[in-house]
């Protein structure tokens, strides 16, 4: 069962003729509906790049500046478009530079097909130039991988790769192709898509009795709470989710990868879960009587201390991946399956409710959070700029229509908290792995995935320096990505932890920055730096109005902390407002 848009699959030619393995690969990519590839050439993948020269019109290849940038761009493309991201890299260092992105895509369930070149098959295992054991290195961080040593394997394996990457719980797949397999010629009559693998079940079979049990529990509940995650987005079940929530009247909170499924201003959207989530949903997780988790995996950043997490609640867990059931939190009822299928079944059986008194509890917590944290974060009375007001003003200017791509750190949590997202696939971030350096290349990928939409990368001064070379990719492709660097002259989140938990021992967190605007100009990208409130609004407007890419550096308060916060090792109900 696919959770992604089905590609147009056509055999490209009916006649059987001899073509190289490299050309077979490219024809296969076309048949899978691929239009964009992010990559970097090298010796072991040269035959594929040589063949690509003849496919320039059909396949848009984006030359990145580092393979890590390439794979993060592939992730951004996949997350924004819902399609499979495709990445090329050469053998050895090219392939090992993909590891961070693979691990990131694996933990965030992002569909990718990565193609790496490999040395000639007869050289395998000989420590040949730029040879590494890519299959074994990537095994723990891929959904599936395979080494092709003969050209004849290419069409079948490529078809399998796309099927595995996009179906069920999506994930990254890597195919390593030896140089001889790219060069050798084979008869090619067309490309057959893969629709079935004997040992692979993309989605478990739905058990209607489990749905009924879940509905019974929900109908008896007095204080039910829904937690939703990216599974709803991956299952393209936004409408089904909303129908369930609105009929059952259950307040619902989200993980950062689930953001936008229910609009920010929806009355049943009670906010963000987790370490820097909202006050109400965190505290009330430990007061609800039935907890309904939909397409989320009870990550430790969401649950805090497990032995004090929702012990009072009966837990219903809807998930496509059976290994997620009972992994962290024991369930009362497990509803296996694609939520696109299970949610309507559940909606039919739940009673129409309003839960007015219970929802009022969330409103009270929200009011307290506004008083203590949010008002000052968004409308500060101090002279220094806050990250929150930058996001707030950006909200007003973009009306929630832009795709926001965030890096990792304080700015990420601020954006998650304050961006008013009204649709899914409007916020792209590295959730599970927390990869600094993700945002700039992922934003490039997102722009290729959704070219008509404004893409704004919001990055800290630490993260932007990790993949800053991708400004070169922006320069060369000429696409428009708006970059906001929130510069607090610190590795802010680490500094916050050191302040709160290490007695302000600021160990190696005062990171110096280059003159970002000058760096950007070196790449022929316009920009400016602002540090006072009066200049912020006009600067954001100038950035959005500029036809090309734009670098806006905002100097923000150096020692601002992100609250609320569930300290490490504490329960969600011990969340601190200050």
């Amino acid at each position: 069962m696919s959770t992604q848009a089905q590609p147009v699959l056509e055999a490209t030619t009916a006649e059987t003729r001899e073509i190289s393995g490299a050309e077979v690969l490219l024809r296969g990519l076309l048949a899978e509906g691929v239009d964009t590839i992010f990559g970097y050439p090298g010796g072991a993948i040269l035959p594929i790049y040589d063949a690509l020269y003849d496919f320039k019109e059909e396949l848009n290849h984006v030359l990145v500046r580092h393979e890590q940038g390439g794979i993060h761009a592939g992730q951004g493309y996949a997350r924004a478009s819902g399609k499979v991201g495709v990445v090329f890299a050469t053998s050895g260092p090219g392939a090992t530079n993909l590891i961070t992105g693979l691990a990131d895509a694996q933990i965030d369930s992002t569909p990718l097909v990565c193609i790496t070149g490999q040395v000639f098959a007869h050289l395998l295992g000989s420590d040949a130039f730029q040879e590494t054991d890519v299959i074994n290195i990537t095994a723990p961080v891929t959904k599936w991988n395979y080494q092709i040593t003969e050209a004849s394997e290419i069409p079948g394996i490529l078809a399998k790769a796309f099927y595995i990457a996009r179906s069920g719980r999506p994930g990254p797949v890597l195919i390593d192709i030896t140089k001889n397999a790219q060069l050798d010629k084979i008869p090619f009559a067309g490309y057959e898509p893969c629709t079935h693998i004997r040992s692979y079940r993309p989605a478990p079979v739905v058990r209607p009795q489990a749905v009924t049990q879940a509905a019974d529990l929900i109908n008896q509940a007095q204080r039910p709470l829904v937690l939703w995650g990216q599974g709803v987005v991956l299952g393209a079940a936004e409408r089904e989710f909303r129908a369930f929530i609105e009929k059952s009247g259950i307040p619902a909170a989200w993980t950062i990868l689930g953001a936008g499924v229910l609009p920010a201003d929806h009355p049943l959207n009670v906010g963000m879960l987790g370490m820097h989530g909202n006050y109400g949903p965190n505290v009330l997780t430990n007061e609800c009587d039935v907890l309904i988790a939909i397409g989320m995996r009870f990550d430790d950043r969401v649950t805090g201390r497990l032995d004090k997490y929702a012990r009072q609640a009966q837990v219903i867990h809807l998930d496509i991946d059976p290994s997620e059931i009972d992994k962290n939190v024991a369930t009362t009822v497990a509803v296996w399956g694609d939520c696109k299928q299970t949610l309507p079944m559940l909606t039919r059986q739940v009673a129409e409710r309003t839960h007015t008194a219970w929802r009022q509890r969330f409103a009270e917590f929200q009011a307290e959070e506004v008083d203590v944290v949010i008002r000052e974060a968004l409308f500060p009375t101090s002279a220094e700029l806050t990250m929150g007001e930058v996001v707030q003003q950006l909200n007003e200017l973009t009306q929630g229509e832009a795709i926001l791509v965030t890096d990792v750190g304080q700015h990420q949590m601020v954006t998650c908290r304050y961006a008013r997202l009204n649709e899914s696939r409007r916020h792209i971030t590295s959730g599970g792995l927390g990869t600094m350096g993700f945002a700039l290349p992922a934003a490039i990928g997102a722009k290729f995935g959704q070219p008509e939409r404004t893409v704004v990368a919001i990055i800290g001064d630490g993260g932007v320096q990790m993949t800053i070379q991708e400004l070169g990719t922006l320069m060369q492709t000429g696409i428009a990505v708006k970059i906001i660097v929130l510069n607090n002259q610190f590795l802010g989140m680490v500094r916050q932890w050191q302040e709160l938990f290490s007695e302000r021992r600021y160990s190696f967190v005062d990171i110096q920055s280059p003159d970002y605007v000058t760096v950007a100009r070196g790449y022929r990208i316009e920009g400016q730096s602002v540090s006072d409130r009066a200049a912020l609004g006009p600067a954001l407007q100038a950035m959005l109005a500029h036809p090309g890419s734009y670098m806006l550096e905002v100097m923000v308060a150096q020692e601002q902390n992100i609250f609320p916060m569930v300290p490490q090792g504490c329960s969600v109900s011990e969340i601190r407002l200050k």
Partner: protein, 196 residues
Amino acid sequence: MERQEFNITAYTENHIGLLNRIAIIFSRRKINIESLNTSPSEIEGIHRFNIVINETEEVVRKICRQIEKQVEVLKVYYNTNDEVIWQEMALYKVPTDIIAERALVERLLRENGARAVVIRKDYTVFETTGHRQETDNLIRVLEPFGLIEFVRSARIAIIKASDGFHLKLNEFEETQPSDEVIENEYLNDRDGVFAM
């Protein structure tokens, strides 16, 4: 929950690299594999892993789900020692002259269910199969007679009260990619085994 020996049985495609993928599932959780055997099953193209670990049932259940999640794994079950018939094979190399001279050794071998595999002038190799304590016992018996070398295989185990996996696989293939649920109903003792 109490830790005990569990026998994990995984039916898989015969694919290069799968051993590593399965081994990683244990090593990243720092779980020691006590014994691992893999070999072709009764079904062509399907391999069978027998893995023994010492863990709690909760951990074993989660591990089995992670193994079953691998693309090339068809099905995974776990069982306690009581629920399986299991054997290990051992080879013992002893000097032939001592064996020939002392009838006592021959009788001890018979008592331990051993048989001669190779008889040479310089040494004789005996083989026995059984549980760990049985094969260990023969070591103790042979040591005074100059045991030269000893080797023992990994454990192989077969589920009690089972009709065999091939019936299951036939069903599995027939229903693919149908939506019919595949449970463990072919096993008589359904509560004692893991089903996804």
